[in-house]
């Protein structure tokens, strides 16, 4: 771990104490902490030493890293990323091969029990050869690196829930980090990619409190994943009024009405896009006119068309209904025939009794 504290590093870069406190206020509010907590956050960050972070990229598309490196200074995420010690990130680091692996081993050795492991990408279990780094399988590298870690942050939906590699039929046998790591805290920061601020928020929480934030049932920080897109969407009033865009270029779309009918998955998606937004708070998917894909939820790739409303069934119901109608007609006709037969059998069995019959009976008595 680097000897310098965060405050010392900021001062070195010419950032004033006032600037530092403003930054702490932003972090406090971002983590949904009460304003009274700001001095505590400032005190914790002042004395925080740069934590060592080891970043492992497995079966992923680098979109998560792309997202995170789009944080422009002096944003909160920029400051945080400048001031963690990113000791290993084979996509970003200059070193490669043995030198890179050596950096990872060194960081693990020097900061045993204290470093953070960030994982993006899923881990293939079908065949270790599907994804390797320096000849080491993803599974082996994960187990080895996590053994001495303080906590693991699974960044992106692939690491958090299996994501695209796990989509049906899951050819590589891809699994999430949390399905493999049971003895260390795993924080899922899902999204395809996740909101950069959410990562930095989790890191800031760890630096401030030395613990992991409160998590939801899927292991995601409640501060960022506690509310659905739908609940925080600025287009929500249109949903409630029943005003919907029906195509991407109709009057409703131009007026910014609700995108539910165009397949928006906002109601079932828990993420912070609607509040934190993207690209320096410029916009976010729904604001840009496209429905939410539900990318921070498990199985989102297999959840049917992105352009089908959430209430529409996903299976081949037309085919099933067709067969059912045919079967119903056949069975109904058969039942009708059976009823007719029962009726005609009853008629056939019916024997007419006349007065004479009684007379015969009398005689035999």
């Amino acid at each position: 771990m680097n000897k310098q504290t965060l405050l010392e590093m900021l001062q070195q870069q010419g950032i004033s104490r006032r600037g530092f406190l403003k930054y702490c206020t932003a972090i406090t509010s971002m983590m949904a902490l009460p304003p009274s907590m700001m001095p505590a956050v400032a005190a914790a960050l002042e004395s925080a030493r740069r934590p060592s972070v080891i970043w492992l990229s497995f079966q992923e598309c680098t979109g998560c890293t792309e997202s995170l490196t789009r944080s422009h200074s002096p944003t909160v995420e920029g400051l945080i990323f400048d001031h963690i010690s990113l000791d290993y990130h084979h996509t970003l680091q200059a070193a490669s091969g043995d030198a890179a692996e050596h950096a990872r081993e060194q960081a693990m050795h020097d900061n045993k029990g204290k470093y953070l492991v960030v994982v993006d990408g899923s881990i293939p279990l079908a065949n270790p050869g599907y994804s390797t780094i320096a000849g080491i399988s993803n599974l082996d590298m994960l187990n080895e690196t996590v053994a001495g870690a303080a906590a693991v942050i699974a960044v992106g939906t692939c690491a958090a829930f299996g994501g695209l590699p796990q989509a049906d039929p899951n050819p590589t046998g891809a699994v999430s980090v949390s399905s493999l790591i049971k003895d260390k805290p795993v924080i899922n920061v899902s999204g395809c990619p996740p909101v950069p601020t959410v990562i930095t928020g989790v890191l800031a929480h760890f630096l401030t409190f030395g613990s992991i934030p409160e998590l939801d049932s899927l292991g995601r920080p409640k501060v960022f994943f506690g509310q659905s897109i739908h609940d925080r969407c600025y287009r929500r009033p249109f949903y409630d009024k029943g005003l919907f865009a029906e195509t991407f270029d109709d009057e409703g779309a131009q007026k910014g009405w609700c995108l539910y009918r165009l397949g928006c998955k906002g109601p079932m998606t828990y993420n912070a896009c609607a509040t934190l937004k993207w690209n320096q708070q410029t916009s976010w998917p729904v604001e840009s006119g496209h429905g939410c894909l539900g990318c921070s939820e498990p199985d989102f790739w297999d959840a049917g068309s992105f352009y089908k409303a959430l209430s529409i069934p996903d299976g081949d119901y037309a085919k099933a209904s067709g067969y059912a109608v045919a079967a119903g007609i056949a069975a109904g006709a058969a039942a009708g025939m059976l009823n007719k037969k029962t009726k005609s059998d009853a008629v056939a069995r019916h024997t007419k009794v006349s007065v004479d019959d009684f007379a015969v009976n009398k005689e035999t008595d």
Partner: protein, 223 residues
């Protein structure tokens, strides 16, 4: 192995396989019941008709849906609350936008929906009315005596979709995919139970009312 790994997995199942199974059972059951009725046939009526059948039959469907004074005086509670929940139930089914989307996707027809708060309020009133109906059934000595297991089953499968829909809309079950999945599943149970219980009256009442009207028409009596 867990049946469903996540709430989303459960939701996908209710929107996929479970939906297909429920709709298939519903359609098979309804077709069997309706065909059975029609194939039963009627004896040929040799009497000379005094009027037409179709017009009076259709008229009877409407006139029999209007309360007659006698029934109202005998059981005003059943009539008023019965109407309230039936109408409310159909408003919830037919005028909630996500439901219209479902009908449009399956049948290719659609109509304007109502604003969500209106459907929401209707759902609340409908549930209240249904609870009142159950309370009436349980406290009225004759009605209680006549009630069978099926009557209570039908009440439950009708009430649960309303309740889960209400909870899902207000996001009172966490996470939302679980809430929506439970709502869809409860409707699927309703669909499966429908053809084999008195819920079939949704369809057969039209046949029955048309038939009585047609008979009356044939006999020259006002339907």
């Amino acid at each position: 192995m867990e049946l469903f790994s996540t709430a989303n997995d459960f939701l996908l199942w209710t929107r996929g396989d479970a939906f297909n199974i429920a709709v298939s059972i519903f359609l098979i059951g309804v077709f069997i019941r309706v065909l059975e009725i029609f194939l039963m046939g009627r004896k040929v009526d040799f009497s000379e008709p005094r009027g037409t059948e179709w017009g009076p039959g259709l008229k009877n469907i409407i006139t029999r849906s209007v309360v007659d004074n006698g029934t109202f005086k005998r059981a005003p509670f059943v009539v008023i609350v019965g109407y309230i929940w039936h109408i409310g139930f159909f408003i919830c089914i037919l005028f909630f936008i996500p439901h219209i989307e479902l009908i449009n996707a399956m049948l290719g027809i659609k109509w304007p929906g109502l604003a969500n708060p209106l459907v929401d309020a209707t759902a609340a009133v409908t549930m209240f009315a249904l609870v009142a109906m159950l309370w009436y059934r349980l406290t009225h000595p004759v009605l209680k005596f006549l009630s069978t297991y099926e009557d209570y089953l039908v009440w439950v499968v009708t009430f649960i979709p309303l309740l889960t829909g209400y909870l899902a809309y207000h996001r009172m079950i966490d996470p939302y995919p679980l809430a929506l999945g439970l709502h869809i599943l409860s409707v699927e149970v309703f669909l499966i139970v429908f053809p084999f219980t008195k819920l079939m009256h949704t369809i057969t009442l039209f046949i029955a009312r048309w038939y009585s009207g047609a008979m009356m028409g044939r006999k020259g009596i006002e339907s």
